[in-house]
């Protein structure tokens, strides 16, 4: 169970020559040179294809591919450069997952540069344990300049999971999750959290809190001890600290019909700050205090629903409540024939709109062997809708950071 990836594939399956990717990349580069890529085909966005911005100082290239381990599905990767603050001592890290479901940069790739370690109030190193569904991220908090496209986040706290200097505390293991601190475990060199929040934890972890979830630790040689962490010291959404284009991101990916070996798109910084990132006709959906909105499906309302580019499918309900069969050997849905479905999302602001999506048989999708991007991949979840990366195919999705203003209002909100 829970086999996210087609296990019968090997890295050797992904040779560029086999896939004709060299040519594809050439064509794509030609289109990029023209500034815009018009994507044809009808995707999640409806009848009109979405327009993907590919040029500008605020645009980073996204690639959906099998990733550094060769077996990822529906993971959107970007390249990120980290530097020792205020120096030209830098390391470029490719294949970092773009995650609108979290905040902050976390690295699994071993570092070839040495970043300054953040020290706590008792002058001991600070480390963090952050739970994700895929596992817990554990490692020291260090400080880096983060460069992506032409944007820079200066002296930002990041989490270096690849630094194993500190043993995992008991409270972290007691969540029962596995570590995601290696490239193999994460399936990527890192996670770039560019979601709704400014920091990963926020006021709950800061001094004066009455509800500390104990994510941050100070680590004397005798062992790590849970502590509070000031907002400015917390692992931060780097976008929020850019000098400009700092109110959020747009993820722009083409529609994906069936499966595709690679998909190219853009991560655009800022909303309404440049000629290439205006909200246009996108509708604003605000979120509740937890970063959720409401999805209504077959007459039932699910209030803990959310958009998340870091989830690799549509995850909702279970086989009983969705009426869609589970796969026998993985945690995905395997209907006998593709299911065309419809749901309605509603923001806390009352804005609502319907979403058409479909769920295909995951075993069939994976059987092609070479593909990494699947527009119709889904699986069971809980009593909520997790609108993962397939939601972003064929639809430009705006994620606005809490407290940041845009022409469409103040974040946090999504717009699409």
């Amino acid at each position: 169970m829970n086999d996210v990836r087609p296990s019968d594939l090997r890295l050797s399956d992904l040779r560029l020559s086999d896939l004709g990717l060299s040519n594809l990349r050439g064509w794509y580069a030609l289109m990029v040179a023209t500034g815009l890529v018009l994507v044809t085909g009808c995707g999640g966005g409806g009848s009109k294809p979405n327009v993907i911005t590919t040029s500008g100082p605020n645009v980073a290239a996204i690639s959906v591919n099998r990733g550094p381990t060769g077996n990822d599905v529906n993971e959107a990767f970007v390249s990120v450069t980290i530097c020792v603050p205020n120096t030209s001592t830098c390391q470029t890290i490719p294949d970092v997952i773009v995650d609108t479901g979290s905040a902050g940069l976390r690295l699994t790739a071993p570092l070839t540069i040495s970043l300054p370690q953040q020290m706590g109030s008792n002058s001991h190193p600070v480390a963090e344990c952050l739970p994700f569904l895929s596992g817990f991220s554990w490692g020291p908090v260090q400080t880096a300049d983060i460069k992506i496209a032409s944007e820079t986040a200066s002296a930002v706290p990041v989490q270096v999971m690849s630094d194993a200097a500190f043993p995992v505390p008991g409270a972290c293991s007691n969540m029962g999750l596995q570590p995601i601190d290696t490239v193999a475990a994460l399936g990527a060199n890192g996670l770039l959290g560019v979601g709704l929040a400014n920091q990963d934890c926020g006021p709950a972890c800061a001094p004066g809190t009455t509800s500390n979830p104990n994510l941050y630790y100070e680590c004397p040689t005798t062992g790590c001890v849970a502590t509070t962490e000031a907002l400015a010291q917390q692992v931060a959404n780097p976008v929020a600290t850019f000098a400009s284009d700092n109110n959020g991101v747009v993820i722009e990916l083409p529609a994906v019909n069936g499966g595709e070996a690679t998909v190219n798109g853009s991560l655009v910084f800022g909303i309404g700050t440049q000629s290439n990132n205006s909200l246009g006709s996108a509708k604003v959906y605000t979120v509740d205090e937890f970063g959720n909105f409401t999805t209504t499906f077959k007459g039932q309302t699910y209030s803990s629903s959310f958009l998340d580019s870091g989830s690799n499918g549509f995850f909702f309900l279970n086989s009983n409540t969705s009426g869609i069969s589970d796969c026998t050997d993985s945690g995905f849905y395997c209907p006998q024939s593709p299911q065309s479905l419809s749901a309605t999302n509603q923001g806390a602001n009352g804005a609502s709109g319907s979403i058409k999506f479909s769920i295909a048989n995951a075993d069939s999708l994976f059987s092609s062997g070479n593909d990494s991007a699947f527009g119709d991949l889904g699986g069971p979840g809980l009593n909520s809708f997790d609108w993962g990366l397939p939601f972003f195919y064929g639809r430009n999705v705006f994620t606005v950071i809490e407290g940041k203003s845009t022409p469409g209002g103040t974040g946090p909100f999504w717009a699409y």
């Binding site: 077996n71 569904l133 969540m175 709950a204 509800s211 803990s304 995850f315 945690g331 069971p380």
Partner: protein, 155 residues
């Protein structure tokens, strides 16, 4: 004399508390008294609601986590649900089922993709969905569900 007796009683009580094995301080599969242990551990307020065929003990922890423990008429916790900004202490919630859960997580190749957790074993089901700043989940022992109760009611 009285003072000595009090001191003796206090020491005995402390010894008793310290002697309680950690697996007793837990929910799933435990008795109704384990709910109170959870309440102390979580520094939570407790509300009890009777439903048809079972009782729900609802704990509100200081972290914002709400934990609902489902207790059968015979006083056994057959299911737990949680909802809150962060992950719960599964070791405490799952009690003697924790190792099963941990093993299932270790064996799954869920890592690499972010997606809901689904562990379905003959004696244990665990499902968790959400994202940082909001997680919700359920855990139950399938054979112990009261007759006619749907698993989706554990929420």
């Amino acid at each position: 004399m009285n003072r000595i007796l009090h001191a003796y009683a206090a020491t005995a009580l402390l010894a008793l508390i310290l002697a309680v094995p950690s697996r007793m301080m837990a929910a799933l599969g435990g008795n109704a008294a384990s709910v109170q242990a959870d309440q102390i551990q979580l520094q939570a307020s407790l509300r009890t609601v009777a439903a048809e065929g079972y009782t729900v003990h609802e704990l509100h922890a200081a972290t914002g986590m709400v934990i609902r423990e489902f207790v059968s008429p015979s006083g056994v916790v057959f299911g737990v649900a949680f909802d809150g900004p962060w992950f719960p202490d599964m070791h405490q919630l799952l009690s003697s089922h924790f190792e099963q859960f941990q093993q299932a997580m270790a064996q799954s190749s869920n890592r690499g993709g972010r997606r809901p957790i689904e562990v379905t074993l003959p004696g244990l089901v665990v499902r968790v969905a959400g994202h940082p700043r909001h997680y919700a989940g359920q855990a139950y022992v399938p054979d112990m569900l009261p007759q006619g109760m749907k698993a989706e009611e554990i929420r």
